[in-house]
C-alpha cells in the first residue's frame, strides 16, 4: 500500500516542480514586533495586496508572483540567517524590506555580497546605499533630501528669522538631521539658529521632555524644529503647548503619518513638515492603486504600505521587462537582469510616479509640503528646486 502512495507521489512531483517553476519568488523581510512594528505590519499588507492584484490580472509573463515572507521579530540576530536562507535555500529572485535603517545595515551588505537585488521601502537613513551598490535600492526618500527645499520655502513665506532645534541624540536619523542637516539649511537660507552651539537634546524613549522644553522657551525662537521620531515629536509638541509656547512647529518628512497627528492632537495643529507620500493624489492611476490597496487592507493607505505595494510593482516590472527566465539554473543571471532593470526604472504606482537613479539606487519623487490643519494632514506639491 505504501508503495502505491510512493509511486503516486513520485508521479505528482514533476507536476509540483513544474508549478513551482512557474512561480516568481520574491523574498520579503519585515517585522511586526518592536518600536517600528507598524512599518512592518503595513509593509506586509502592502506587498500582499500588490501580489494578489498582479496575480489576479494574470501575473507577469504568465507566471504568478509568490511572496516568501519572514518576520525577524525585531531581532537583528535573526537577519543574517534569514537573508542567507532567502538567497540560497528559498532561491528568491529579489528581496523587499526590511523595516528600519538599522536592520538594513545588516540586510543590505549580505544581499549585496550574495548578489541578490534588495529594495528598501521604509529605510530612511542617509548614505546607507553607497556601500551596498550595485544590488541595494530603496524607493523611500531619505529625510534630508526630502526636506530641504520644502522648509527653505516655508521659512521665507512665514518670515521666520530665529529657530530653535530639539533633537533626539539616540536615533541616528534624527541626530544627523539635528546636527548637520538643519544647521546647514538654516545657514544657507539666512535664518538664525539659536541652538547651533548649545544644542537642546533628548533621547528616544525619554519619558519626560519638560526640562528641554523649558530651555527652548527661554530661547524665545520664532519656530521650533522637531528632529525626532513621530511619537517623540508629538510628546514634545504637547509639552510645548502646555508650557504656553505658541511658536510655529517645523519638522522633516519623517513626521508625516498617523502617529504624530493622533498622538499630538491639538498640540500639533498648524505644524508644517515636508512629505513624500500623497494620499490624496488626484492622478487617476495612483488613485486607482490606492483604492485597490485600501480595499485589500481595509484601512486608508499610509506611506509604508503604499511604498511596499509599489515595490512589488517595481519587481514585477523588472521581471517582465528584464527578460527573466525564472529557470533555476539561470537564477544568478535572472537576478542580474532584475538589478539592471531596477537601475533607472520608472514606476507609476500607488505612491504616484517615481524612478530609481541608475547610479545611486535612490528614488526620485516630487516634493511636498505638509500642514496639519483642522486635525488633518494637508499636502501641497511644491516645485522642486535643486538644493
Amino acid at each position: 500500500m505504501t508503495r502505491f502512495y510512493a509511486v503516486a507521489l513520485l508521479a505528482l512531483l514533476p507536476g509540483v516542480a513544474a508549478a513551482q517553476a512557474q512561480e516568481l519568488k520574491i523574498g520579503v523581510i519585515y517585522t511586526v514586533d518592536g518600536a517600528w512594528g507598524s512599518y512592518g505590519k503595513k509593509g506586509f499588507q502592502g506587498v500582499r495586496a500588490a501580489a494578489e492584484d498582479i496575480n489576479a490580472r494574470g501575473g507577469v509573463n504568465g507566471m504568478k508572483l509568490k511572496l516568501v515572507e519572514y518576520d525577524n521579530r525585531a531581532s537583528p540576530g535573526e537577519l543574517p540567517n534569514i537573508v542567507r536562507q532567502l538567497a540560497t535555500v528559498d532561491n528568491v529572485l529579489a528581496i523587499i524590506g526590511p523595516n528600519t535603517s538599522g536592520e538594513a545595515e545588516i540586510v543590505f551588505p549580505i544581499a549585496n555580497q550574495l548578489k541578490v537585488p534588495v529594495l528598501g521601502t521604509s529605510v530612511a537613513k542617509g548614505g546607507i546605499l553607497t556601500k551596498n551598490r550595485p544590488w541595494a535600492f530603496r524607493n523611500v526618500m531619505p529625510d534630508d533630501l526630502n526636506t530641504g527645499p520644502v522648509i527653505a520655502q516655508v521659512v521665507k513665506e512665514k518670515n521666520i528669522k530665529k529657530v530653535a532645534v530639539i533633537m533626539d541624540v539616540k536615533d541616528p536619523v534624527s541626530k544627523y538631521m539635528g546636527s548637520f542637516f538643519w544647521p546647514g539649511l538654516f545657514d544657507k537660507v539666512g535664518v538664525q539658529n539659536l541652538t547651533k552651539t548649545d544644542a537642546v537634546t533628548f533621547q528616544s524613549g525619554d519619558p519626560s521632555v519638560a526640562a528641554q522644553v523649558s530651555k527652548l522657551k527661554s530661547l524665545n525662537p520664532d519656530a521650533v524644529v522637531l528632529a525626532a521620531s513621530p511619537g517623540d515629536a508629538a510628546k514634545i509638541a504637547i509639552e510645548i503647548r502646555r508650557q504656553g509656547m505658541k511658536q510655529q512647529l517645523l519638522g522633516s518628512g519623517a513626521l508625516v503619518g498617523d502617529e504624530f497627528l493622533k498622538s499630538g492632537g491639538n498640540a500639533v495643529e498648524g505644524a508644517i513638515t515636508a512629505a513624500q507620500f500623497w494620499r490624496e493624489n488626484p492622478d487617476p492611476k495612483a488613485h486607482a492603486y490606492l483604492m485597490a490597496l485600501e480595499k485589500r487592507t481595509g484601512e486608508p493607505p499610509v506611506l509604508h504600505d503604499a511604498y511596499a505595494y509599489d515595490a512589488v510593482l517595481a519587481m514585477a516590472e523588472a521581471v517582465g521587462k528584464g527578460g527573466v527566465t525564472n529557470k533555476p539554473q539561470y537564477l544568478a543571471m535572472d537576478r542580474e537582469r532584475i538589478r539592471d532593470a531596477l537601475d533607472g526604472i520608472r514606476v507609476a504606482g500607488a505612491s504616484g510616479a517615481w524612478s530609481l537613479d541608475p547610479k545611486t539606487g535612490e528614488v526620485e519623487r516630487p516634493m511636498m509640503k505638509a500642514l496639519i490643519s483642522g486635525g488633518k494632514w494637508q499636502l501641497t506639491p511644491i516645485s522642486t528646486s535643486s538644493q
Binding site: D33, D206, P207, S214, G231, R242, Q243, G244, S263, G265
Partner: protein
C-alpha cells in the same frame, strides 16, 4: 533665574514619579532580596489600563486611577505567584530571572494588545495652566503631586502604625526570626507584593499623565530610574527611596537643562556605580539583609 526655577519644578514633578517607582521596587527588595524586573512592565501595563479607563469613561480621573491601581495589584500578585511562591529559593537567581520572563510576557502582550506606537494620554483637567510667578504649573500636576504625597504618607503610616507594617519590617529583618516570633511570614510576603503592585499601578497612572504619551517600551526606562533612586537612597529603605527618586529627577532635569542629554545616561549610571562603591548603604542607610 526664571528658567532655573522652572527646571527645579520640573525636577520635583518628575522626581516624585520616580520616587513612587522606587518605593514599590524597594518594598519587595527590602523584604525579599528580590530584584523584581517585572516592576517596570507592571507600571506600563497599569498605565495602559488606566488610559483605557480614562478614554472609556470620557475623562474620569478617579476611575482611571482606580483601574490602574487594581491592575497593578493584580500583576503584583501574579509576580508573587509566578516568581516567588512556586519557585525554589535554592537557586537565588531563579526568582529574579523569572521576573525577567514575566516582564517579557507583559511587554509582548502589551504590543499585541495595543500596538507599538505612542498613545496620547489626554489631560483630564484640560490644558489648564497656572502661572505661579515664573513657573508654569499644570492643574493635573497638582493632582499628581497630591496623590504622590498621600501615597507616601499612607505607606509611612502603614509601616509605622499598623500590625501589617510591623510584620513587614520584621520579615525584612530576618524571615526566620520573624516566623519564630509568630509573624505570618508567607502572608506578609504576599501582601508586600500586593502593596508593591498598588504603588506600581499608581505610578503608572501618574507617570502617564506627566509624560503625555505612553508606549509598551517605557517599562525598562522607568525601572532604571527607579532603581537608581533606590540605590541612592539606600536599598530597602523606604524613606531613602522617596528622597532618592526625587534626587534622580532633579539631577536628570538639571543635567539635561544645562549640559547635554547625551551624557545623561553616563552620568546617571556612573552615579549609580559610585554610590555602590563608596556609599553602598545609600544616603539613608541600609535595611536589607546581606546574602552570603
Amino acid at each position: 533665574m526664571d528658567l532655573l526655577l522652572q527646571q527645579l519644578y520640573n525636577g520635583v514633578l518628575i522626581g516624585s514619579t520616580y520616587a513612587l517607582v522606587a518605593l514599590g521596587f524597594t518594598l519587595v527588595l527590602g523584604t525579599l532580596d528580590l530584584l523584581n524586573f517585572a516592576h517596570g512592565e507592571t507600571i506600563m501595563f497599569s498605565a495602559y489600563a488606566g488610559l483605557l479607563a480614562l478614554l472609556a469613561s470620557g475623562g474620569s480621573l478617579p476611575l482611571a486611577m482606580a483601574i490602574a491601581v487594581a491592575t497593578g495589584a493584580l500583576l503584583g500578585t501574579a509576580v508573587y505567584l509566578g516568581s516567588f511562591r512556586f519557585v525554589s529559593k535554592k537557586y537565588w537567581t531563579a526568582p529574579a530571572l523569572s521576573t525577567v520572563g514575566i516582564a517579557l510576557i507583559l511587554q509582548t502582550g502589551a504590543t499585541r494588545l495595543w500596538g507599538t506606537e505612542q498613545r496620547a494620554v489626554p489631560d483630564p483637567l484640560g490644558d489648564a495652566n497656572l502661572q505661579l510667578g515664573p513657573i508654569s504649573v499644570g492643574l493635573s500636576h497638582l493632582v499628581i503631586l497630591g496623590v504622590t504625597v498621600v501615597l507616601m504618607l499612607g505607606l509611612h503610616l502603614l509601616l509605622k502604625r499598623t500590625r501589617l507594617g510591623k510584620a513587614m519590617r520584621a520579615v525584612a529583618e530576618n524571615h526566620v526570626t520573624a516566623a519564630l516570633l509568630g509573624v505570618p511570614v508567607e502572608r506578609t510576603i504576599a501582601l508586600t507584593f500586593l502593596i508593591s503592585g498598588i504603588l506600581a499601578g499608581a505610578a503608572g497612572a501618574l507617570t502617564s499623565l506627566v509624560y503625555h504619551t505612553i508606549t509598551p517600551f517605557i517599562g525598562l526606562n522607568i525601572l532604571l530610574k527607579g532603581m537608581t533612586g533606590m540605590v541612592i537612597g539606600g536599598l530597602g529603605n523606604v524613606y531613602g527611596a522617596m528622597f532618592g527618586g526625587v534626587l534622580v529627577g532633579m539631577l536628570e532635569v538639571l543635567a539635561v537643562g544645562y549640559l547635554s542629554s547625551s551624557y545623561q545616561d553616563v552620568l546617571v549610571f556612573a552615579a549609580l556605580i559610585a554610590v555602590l562603591m563608596f556609599k553602598p548603604a545609600g544616603f539613608f542607610g541600609i535595611q536589607v539583609r546581606d546574602r552570603a
